[in-house]
């Protein structure tokens, strides 16, 4: 039997898992909808956290751990977070050895900057394109393994489903070639899912187009538990755009950027006034709510619009170029103004999926045997709110756990001969779904449904949540689901048909949207990124619990699991 592991997703998590699997002597079949070098990880800008304490501030993994748990409002299970924070310094060293062009100090050591939710310089960075640099480093290592024949890449392939045997064990995947549109099943001893976030559910977000959450949703519909779906991070500073809300990294504030709005003809630095200790570097949920308050409640948006200023003009232009060049360029290219000379106009935007596939504490294993998950598509490291620059480290750490766990599973799990029928049946099931789309004669345009989905989710399931609006949203989602059944493909050809693939993804988005919405509806408290004005306090007695959503024919069924708080006792979160 071939000793192979399938990895779906070629971002930081998928690639780091692939490297570990190969090092353990197994081969990897790596699936991705885009060439892996174009994965969404490239969009991460500001940096990666590790308590290396190279600035003599007395930082330590224990403080990083505390900041992360506190920033996540105590919703994360503490064991894995603790291990991640402890592993982070070695991960930075490894990336450094792989050739990541981190910024340097005069002595040739790694430079670190401050990020949100901490008082320490803990964030290593490569200009303002850290995600790109990290992804490339891992991509290069995997390319090396590919050249050695240890990794086979299936780029431009869409994941459709897991192949589960009669006992519910994952035996491989079913996927579809985005060009030839051939449906194929692939056997593997274990499968790792690393398919990122689900920003597309919100229409416009800071996420890439590929971040549809389609794979996670498909697995959820096959029985995987989806945890903490309601926790969606809205980043305080993004550049509004019609196609995308482009991230303006927290590093802009980490390097001294100040947020203000004009009040009585003078700049009012409301974050600095309201949060004197952390100032502009409060966690993202706090900053986002403050901006919403200033714009919507106080009516102080710049020129009456939904925007506040993010100001870098007081900082030396050369220093800005060295440390933030990448993001300044984005602003210049898309807005046309030079942020070295005029303050940038920014507004909050959906940014990160804290929730995701449920995985166990130790192995990144989902509840489906043989199926593992790592990266943004799983739920485990960020609790109710992710701290800036923790995503990159959680992706890589998650991959580093998932890879060896999958290999260990492959070695120890019972080797039953899988009947061929298991694969042919799944393939037939998927082909039948495809055929359904081709023979549909409805009148609905999938792109129009998507627009409505995005608008309703952004309006009701992001920064501020009200139960009546969530109920309306769920009704709307069900209506969209009904209309989705009547989707008509404008294009019925069977070669590289993007309308077809988008339509398939959209179906999965609609299912996952209900998990987000109903999870939010049920959680009557405010915690981290989840904020309900009608329930403004955190309610540990009732909701210090992980939301566990299970798929049923009538919609998500929610259960709750206790949170491991064995290291740090929950305390009020006040910045």
């Amino acid at each position: 039997m071939a000793k192979n592991i399938i990895i779906v997703g070629g971002g930081l998590a998928g690639l780091s898992a692939a490297i570990k699997v190969v090092e353990k002597g197994y081969s990897v079949d790596l699936f991705s909808v885009v060439p892996v070098k174009r994965s969404h990880s490239v969009c991460a800008q500001g940096g990666i956290n590790a308590a290396k304490n190279l600035k003599g501030e007395g930082d330590s993994p224990a403080i990083h751990f505390d900041d992360t748990i506190y920033g996540g409002d105590f919703l994360a299970n503490q064991g894995p977070v603790k291990r991640m924070c402890e592993a982070a310094p070695a991960i930075i060293d490894l990336l450094d050895r792989m050739g990541v062009q981190f910024n340097r100090t005069a002595e040739g050591l790694l430079d670190f900057r401050r990020f949100g939710g901490t008082l320490y310089h803990r964030t290593a960075f490569a200009g303002a394109t850290t995600g790109q640099q990290l992804l490339y480093a891992l991509d290069e290592q995997v390319r090396r393994f590919e050249a050695e024949g240890k990794v086979r890449k299936f780029e431009h392939w869409e994941f459709l489903s897991a192949v589960l045997d009669d006992a519910g064990v994952c035996r491989g995947i079913c996927a579809m070639d985005l060009q030839s549109m051939e449906v194929r099943t692939f056997a593997a001893e274990a499968v790792i899912i690393a398919t990122g976030g689900n920003g597309a559910i919100f229409g416009r977000s800071t996420n890439s187009i590929a971040c549809t959450g389609s794979a996670q949703s498909a697995l959820y519909q096959q029985g995987a538990i989806y945890a903490n779906g309601e926790f969606i991070q809205v980043h305080p500073t993004a550049i509004p755009g019609e196609d995308k809300l482009r991230l303006m990294s927290e590093s802009a504030r980490g390097e001294g950027g100040r947020v203000w709005v004009p009040r009585d003809g003078k700049p009012w630095y409301f974050l600095e006034e309201w949060y004197p200790k952390y100032g502009n570097l409060v966690p993202r949920d706090v900053a986002t709510r403050a901006i919403h308050k200033v714009v919507f409640e106080m009516g102080l948006g710049v020129e009456g619009q939904q925007a506040v200023y993010l100001d870098l003009t007081h900082i030396d232009a050369h220093e800005l170029d060295v440390k933030l060049g990448g993001i300044l360029e984005i602003y210049e290219k898309f807005v046309g103004d030079d942020p070295r000379k005029v303050p940038m106009r920014v507004f909050p935007a959906m940014h990160y999926t804290m929730g995701g596939l449920w995985v166990d504490d130790e192995h990144q294993a989902t509840n489906i045997p043989g199926l593992f998950a790592a990266g943004e598509c799983e739920y485990q490291y960020h609790g109710a709110n992710r701290l800036g620059a923790n995503s990159l480290v959680s992706c890589i750490f998650g991959g580093f756990v998932a890879g060896p766990s999958a290999v260990e599973y492959a070695k120890t799990a019972a080797k039953a001969e899988v009947p061929e029928q298991v694969f042919t049946a799944e393939k037939a099931r998927q082909e039948a779904i495809n055929q359904q789309f081709y023979s549909n004669e409805g009148s609905e345009n999938p792109f129009v449904i998507w627009k409505e989905l995005g608008n309703t989710m952004t309006a009701n399931c992001t920064v501020t949540r009200y139960n009546n609006r969530l109920q309306e949203t769920d009704a709307k989602l069900q209506e969209l689901g009904e209309r989705y059944r009547r989707v008509n493909l404008s294009d019925k050809t069977r070669w590289a048909n993007q309308a077809f693939f988008f339509t398939r993804q959209l179906g999965n988005m609609l299912v996952l949207a209900r998990v987000i919405c109903l999870g939010a509806l049920a959680r009557n408290e405010s915690r981290g990124a989840h904020y309900k004005p009608d329930f403004p306090e955190r309610d540990d007695a009732n909701f210090l619990k992980t939301t566990m959503a299970k798929h049923t024919a009538s919609g998500p069924k929610l259960e709750y699991a206790a949170v491991d708080t064995s290291y740090i006792k929950p305390r009020p979160r006040k910045y």
Partner: protein
């Protein structure tokens, strides 16, 4: 006042087997639009200017902030990323064509696999011993970092290859992007240990000798990478290495 619109002409091709054809679209104008928004508008209502229903336009795109490299296409005759192509700055009718140096998949979508294969040829990676904890990486001066960082910004979009008169079906030329990657890895203290392998790959068929220095690459690079500088630097390194090796050193 008549509503302002955007005219777009798109070169379409349903599959590699079929011939290309042009279709024209007219969509409502909004401030701040880019080519991606225009293509999405067409997807929401795929109807040509003659009122004929058509299929949505296929194209590659992902990050929409010019860092993933996916959405390269020829816009008004110039290869560039569609996401940064703002409608306000383009002359109308806007023409969209697929990159011509790569095999067509469909419409504006092409197969750029050759680029990634060429990165394998030159061993564009740092050969580390393993991912176990071996302590910090080598020290590097901020000056070297500032020289290397721009090189590591290459997004593999392929625009430099599209404009290169030497990158075509007659040659196996690896092109400016790949040559510049060799420079990046040879700058790194660990990467330098294997510089010979990479330089030899650059002296193999399709290597740096196929560059005739038209210098188009550096003009078109969306990331402003000093590609001609990289080519000159690698030209020197390859010669030095080749001569040294020939003399048995």
């Amino acid at each position: 006042m008549a509503e302002k619109t955007v005219q777009i002409r798109i070169k379409r091709q349903a599959s590699p087997q079929e011939g290309p054809r042009w279709e024209e679209f007219e969509i409502p104008y909004r401030p701040g639009m880019n080519v991606i928004v225009a293509l999405r508008d067409i997807a929401e209502r795929p109807v040509t200017v003659e009122g004929k229903s058509t299929s949505i336009v296929s194209y590659d795109a992902n990050c929409l902030e010019e860092i993933c490299g996916a959405c390269a296409m020829i816009i008004n005759g110039r290869p560039r990323q569609a996401c940064t192509a703002l409608i306000d700055k383009l002359e109308q009718p806007i023409t969209l064509e697929p990159l011509s140096k790569f095999p067509i998949v469909r419409d504006l979508q092409v197969n750029r696999q050759r680029l990634f294969e060429d990165l394998k040829k030159v061993k564009a990676w740092i050969p580390i011993d393993g991912t176990y904890d071996l302590g910090p990486g080598p020290r590097e001066s901020p000056e070297v970092q500032q020289e290397a960082y721009p090189l590591s910004n290459c997004i593999s979009c392929g625009n430099c290859l599209e404009v290169c008169p030497q990158y075509n079906d007659h040659t196996t030329f690896v092109g400016a992007a790949v040559i510049s990657q060799v420079r990046l890895f040879n700058l790194h203290p660990t990467g330098r240990m294997n510089e010979g392998e990479r330089l030899e790959a650059l002296a193999a068929p399709g290597g740096i000798q196929d560059c005739s220095y038209a210098q188009n690459c550096v003009k078109i690079c969306p990331k402003g990478i000093p590609l001609t500088e990289s080519i000159a630097a690698m030209g020197r390194a390859v010669i030095k290495h080749t001569v040294k090796k020939a003399l048995g050193k």
